[in-house]
């Protein structure tokens, strides 16, 4: 895939919802924004990570805040471009490429808006290979790439630049600013050179989103099993098929934490699966035994359609198939596990890796 056109956006949104692992926000608004940007500015060139030149100036852009707010106070395309331009201005550099920080959920499509608006190519890669809830949870953190200087922009034209001592401070200060900006802001951070991008990003993830979306669509048209195709493409495995019988949610320091209980059906009749989540799914336990955990991907898909179900969208009675897929291997290094492993989220277990 060498460019993103109007026709690719549905597939990317559908695939991004799968990589969102239950979080990342509904890509619907992102898709509409990208559609309007691509219609006004033309298709967005997509550059394979390996082809990004050493001296490129690469800026990831993303939405920060509450997806619930974003569906009410709609972001503007200008706001997305403004975040990238502000950071480039602070750095005093000519921006050459836009990148994607988070391939899961709405943030897969926000960079398409920025690239279209600014007339720049988009790098076919992202910082996670999935979705995670906090800003420092990207592979560039493992390479010592600083989150800041980072820009933040709201729809009113307010802009801020943060320069912090470490990436966790960036998360903390940006979170406060986001709340003051009405809980929906556009950010640009982890400015990097082309060589840093090639080293630290996960390659091919936007194409992967498009491919997953197309697989699901085609499987449905052929009356084949979309879930099986997603599992096979991600090199993961099917953990469980069941009916949601209980969902408990609570808000802890701004995040939606909770558990969902699934009662098994098909080949899993008689078993129970518990999913623990903080926006994204963190741990899957079958009859009390952990079967998968962060940093690997745990995704809930509608059993029949293969459409991703978000943790917010989990409801009694839904029939879902839970799948697990391996994260980028760098997430399984000690540093990666410290950053986004089960203990960071308060589960005193070693991560359980998925083998396909």
């Amino acid at each position: 895939m060498r460019e993103i056109t109007e026709n690719d956006l549905h597939d990317i949104a559908r695939g991004a919802a799968i990589l969102g692992t239950g979080g990342g926000g509904d890509p619907y608004i992102g898709r509409l924004l990208a559609l309007s940007a691509v219609r006004s500015h033309g298709p967005v060139p997509l550059v394979p990570l390996a082809e990004v030149p050493d001296d490129a100036v690469v800026l990831p852009v993303a939405m920060m805040g509450a997806p619930t707010v974003m569906v009410e106070k709609l972001p503007s395309a200008e706001q997305v471009g403004l975040a990238a331009r502000t950071l480039a201005g602070y750095l005093g550099k000519e921006l050459t490429h836009i990148a994607c920080a988070e391939a899961g959920g709405v943030n897969s499509l926000i960079p398409v808006v920025a690239a279209a608006q600014l007339g720049l190519p988009l790098v076919d890669a992202d910082g996670m290979g999935r979705a995670f809830p906090e800003l420092q949870m990207v592979l560039p953190t493992l390479y010592g790439i600083r989150a800041t200087p980072m820009s933040i922009a709201d729809e009113k034209g307010n802009r801020g630049v943060l320069d912090t001592v470490d990436n966790r401070w960036a998360e903390r200060l940006a979170r406060s600013a986001t709340i003051d900006m009405g809980c929906s802001a556009m950010i640009s951070n982890y400015a990097m050179s082309g060589s840093q991008a090639r080293e630290s990003l996960v390659p091919g993830t936007l194409s992967l989103c498009a491919e997953l979306g197309a697989l699901v669509r085609a499987a449905r048209e052929e009356h084949a099993d979309p879930v099986a195709r997603v599992v096979s493409r991600l090199g993961g495995r099917r953990l469980f098929t069941g009916k949601v019988v209980d969902v408990a949610r609570r808000t802890v320091t701004g995040f939606a934490r909770g558990e969902a209980r699934l009662s098994g059906m098909d080949g899993d009749t008689g078993a129970e699966l518990v999913l623990r989540f903080q926006n994204e799914h963190l741990v899957a336990e079958r009859d009390g035994v952990v079967e998968a955990s962060v940093p690997d991907l745990i995704c809930t898909l509608e059993r029949e359609t293969g459409e991703a179900v978000t943790t917010e969208g989990l409801r009694f009675g839904q029939r879902v198939t839970v799948i697990a897929a391996p994260a980028d291997p760098r997430w399984h290094t000690p540093e990666g596990i410290a950053l986004a492993g089960p203990r960071y989220f308060g589960y005193d277990i070693d991560p359980i890796g998925v083998t396909g």
């Binding site: 509450a66 997806p67 106070k73 503007s76 729809e155 009405g182 949610r249 808000t251 701004g254 926006n279």
Partner: protein, 513 residues
């Protein structure tokens, strides 16, 4: 006594009830004009069981007029969408994701102006009255006859929508104005879409409501007239003039609620077997469970409250083939010429029911030759498919009784595997009209609350009380009102334990002396 009437696409069904006892029931054809079908239905009741029109205390009508008008893009008024959101939201203007044919059908015009609230109640921007006056001038020149006003976070604070309505109303006194906070919930585009649809239907609503009132009055009935809403509660005619969109899913809702009353079960699965499909819904405490996903109507994404209904292609007209499939294709309205029992050449599910002795339709001798094994296999297939759908709609391990209604329900066995006994109430063919007749009055709250520590219970009580107050204000008898639905969902990434609370109260209609 009360009269319930359900106006469907094909049939208009009517019942005369005394309490919960069915005194008379009729089925007539739906007519192109509003009034004659209703007049015919009331006459039919009168012929079946003579009654004194003055003894009728209320008339309840469920109608598909409005949803059909949208689907057919017919008789929609020239409408303007005003959104108070700037400087936010300009990239996705109103009607951005609509099919062009419907934008054209409402001559859709959009105006983006300053205003709106943040999630915590701050103003995104101050309202600019001169901007609104200018927009109103432009609407006047363009011949706009109905206006939909949507402000960001109006379900939390509606002050800007109310003020904008005053300004536009002062300048254009003859246009109808619809406000989004009265129509939809959080989710700006979906709520705005619902409001624009409502606005486009306002003129038609006035026309239909006048027609319905005239037919009822013409029959000598002086009792008040009510229309059924999506959630199974009633609205009076003034409300119906202002919120036609609230009738959109009243058909399936009435059928399900009628089934509940007929069977005496208020928590059950209802299988409505028609000519082409079987629709399965679930009632909890007498009200349909709502769909949790966004609902697309005529290709427009909305967030209406719609009953959660799952359909499969099995009905009385379903074609039955070889070894052995039933549906999903159906002979539909041609059943009476194509089915074997009517001398036709197509094997349908109705033929199977007659051959098995479950129904007496047409000429049973025409199906006497059918292979017993085939008949058995087809019935087993129907039972297995329907019980699978019922099973999918169940949300807990607890047993859920199954109630079958609709003309095609003879296809179902007396017991469904895994679901137990199938209840078949009397008068099942007019369950929808009965559902309309027994509807109650509701009130509802759906809002994001910032809950301070230790205040949760007080906030929950406040929300419930407001729902109750609204039901009473809408005409429910205070002694009968209770909370029937309550839901609390914390919202991620927002400070201060922001929680979305929905509470719904219903009570019996307070009937006049």
């Amino acid at each position: 006594m009360r009269i319930g009437i359900d106006v469907g696409g094909t049939n208009t069904d009517a019942v005369l009830l005394d309490g919960r006892q069915v005194l008379a029931s009729v089925k007539t054809s739906t007519t192109a004009d509003v009034t004659s079908g209703i007049v015919a239905a009331i006459d039919g009741l009168q012929r079946q069981r003579a009654f004194d029109p003055a003894a009728v205390r209320a008339v309840m009508i469920g109608t598909t007029h409005f949803i059909n008008a949208l689907v057919e893009a017919h008789r929609l008024a020239p409408t303007a969408a005003v959104r108070l959101s700037l400087p936010a939201g300009a990239s996705l203007p109103p009607m951005v994701d609509w099919p062009q044919r419907l934008v054209d059908a409402v001559s859709g015009r959009s105006y983006l102006v300053h205003g709106g609230h943040e999630f915590d109640g701050r103003h995104i921007a101050e309202l600019d009255e001169s901007e609104l006056r200018k927009a109103a001038d432009d609407m006047g020149e363009a011949g706009v006859r109905s206006v939909a006003i949507t402000s960001v976070f109006s379900p939390v604070n509606a002050e800007f929508e109310a003020r904008a309505a005053e300004i536009i109303g002062a300048q254009l006194p003859d246009v109808a104005i619809s406000l989004s906070h009265e129509i939809g919930r959080i989710g700006l585009l979906e709520r705005e879409n619902a409001t624009v649809i409502n606005a486009a239907l306002r003129e038609l609503a006035a026309h239909i409501v006048d027609g319905l009132s005239a037919s009822v009055t013409g029959a000598g009935i002086t009792a008040p007239l009510y229309l059924s809403q999506n959630d199974g509660t009633l609205m009076d005619v003034d409300f119906a003039r202002r919120y036609p969109v609230a009738t959109f899913a009243s058909g399936p809702t009435n059928s399900m609620r009628g089934a509940a009353v007929l069977s005496g079960l208020d928590t059950c699965a209802v299988v409505d077997v028609g000519g082409t499909t079987s629709d399965v819904g679930v009632l909890r405490q007498g009200f349909p469970r709502e769909a949790t996903t966004d609902v697309s109507v005529a290709g427009i994404r909305t967030n209406f409250r719609m009953p959660d209904v799952l359909s499969i292609g099995i009905g009385g007209g379903s074609r039955v083939r070889g070894n052995v499939t039933v549906g999903p294709d159906s002979v539909g309205y041609e059943l009476t010429s194509k089915a074997l029992v009517f001398g036709g050449d197509t094997l349908t599910a109705t033929d199977i029911a007659v051959a098995a002795g479950r129904a007496d339709i047409g000429d049973a001798s025409l199906v006497a030759h059918l292979d017993r094994g085939l008949v058995r296999a087809a019935l087993d297939k129907i039972a297995a498919d329907v019980s699978d759908v019922v099973e999918r709609m169940r949300t807990s391990a607890e047993p859920l009784p199954v109630v079958a209604v609709g003309g095609g329900s003879v296809l179902l066995p007396d017991e469904l595997a895994g679901c137990g006994e199938v209840h078949r109430p009397e008068n099942y063919a007019v369950a929808n009209a009965i559902g309309a007749a027994i509807a109650q009055i509701g009130g509802e709250v759906d809002r994001v609350y910032v809950i301070e520590p230790g205040r949760r219970e007080a906030v929950v009580e406040e929300a419930k009380q407001e729902a109750i107050d609204r039901a009473v204000a809408a005409g429910a008898s205070p002694a009968s009102v209770g909370i029937v639905d309550f839901d609390e969902v914390p919202i991620p990434y927002l400070p201060g334990n922001a929680t979305r609370i929905r509470a719904k109260a219903v009570g019996d209609l307070q009937l006049g002396a």
